[in-house]
Symmetry: C2
């Protein structure tokens, strides 16, 4: 692939890396990723100097994409407490409802997030989420339970042999309703 559009090549490599790592784990070779992306190994190494650097870039890309998706999903016309959390729930479940295989998604996340240097990215991301939710007006106890339950819905499909759309829509509606009062859950 000629280097006419470096941003596009970078995007192609990151997408290919996500597919290959989801299928085969973080131990996958640079060659396999380059092959999947349809670029030469030299071309890939021009964008990412090592496999570790590529995996870190993939982690950063996944964290960033989810943060952007949540912001985009929060309704600007909604002025009530819990608005940001409703965006989070909407974005999370949109991903789950589109996903064909919860196991591959979780395999990707677990492979990428144990790679060297990624823990620092995740700690920074956690701080960003705390700042994001600080102004949402929900009691911290309610906030935490809803967040954890939304995360749990993502992994439940894994334990239960695949996501059922009906089950996902059911828990999504329950969580959406729980965002509509600000105080602690009781």
């Amino acid at each position: 692939m000629a280097e006419r559009d470096p941003a596009k090549t970078r995007r192609t490599v990151l997408d290919a890396a996500a597919r290959v790592v989801a299928e085969r784990g973080a131990g996958v070779s640079i060659d396999a990723i380059a092959r999947e992306a349809g670029v030469s190994k030299g071309g890939l190494l021009h964008h990412f100097r090592s496999r570790d650097e590529l995996i870190r870039a993939l982690a950063d890309d996944m964290l960033e994409a989810f943060f952007v998706a949540v912001q985009a999903a929060a309704d600007p016309a909604d002025r009530a407490e819990g608005r940001l959390m409703r965006g989070y729930i909407k974005a999370s479940f949109d991903v789950l409802l589109q996903e064909s295989s919860p196991a591959e998604h979780v395999a990707l996340v677990s492979a990428v997030f144990k790679a060297p240097g990624v823990a620092d990215l995740m700690r920074k991301d956690k701080v960003r989420w705390e700042a994001y939710f600080a102004d949402d007006g929900l009691d911290p106890q309610r906030l935490l339970v809803i967040l954890r339950a939304a995360d749990g819905a993502a992994i439940a499909g894994l334990y239960e042999g695949g996501h059922s759309h009906e089950d996902l829509e059911h828990i999504r509606e329950i969580l959406m309703n729980l965002t509509r009062s600000p105080g602690p859950l009781s």
Copy 2:
């Protein structure tokens, strides 16, 4: 290893398979598992006729071990509604608090649970859990949110660069408190 104690050999192989699959994914060879277990390939194949059969046995073993751990954690002197859920929370968080690497646990679960034939085991397991919780006296909405939040706590460590014991104990206490009223959460 001489076949003096077939149950012990079987246990050794399952434990070795769990370690190797956690590190290297479900694509790992029978030879690698046999090596880790310290048994010959022939010895391993005497207990499990194929890699798929071994992975299914591992999934079954993990599901069974967790079910037994939850039953053991439910306090027989506790007679109040939510008793079984308190056992579930206790057993789940005991696992998380002992775990060194959430990424390896999740890698193991995702590798094992996408293997051929495992979805059927999981669907049966789901039915067993529904029957287990049916007599616990909690409203289904409260039950589902607590369950999903407990599952979510397991994956949160993955997204946040490792489990913090303080965070785990905090969400565990919140969830325990939520088991003490039977009606829907509001």
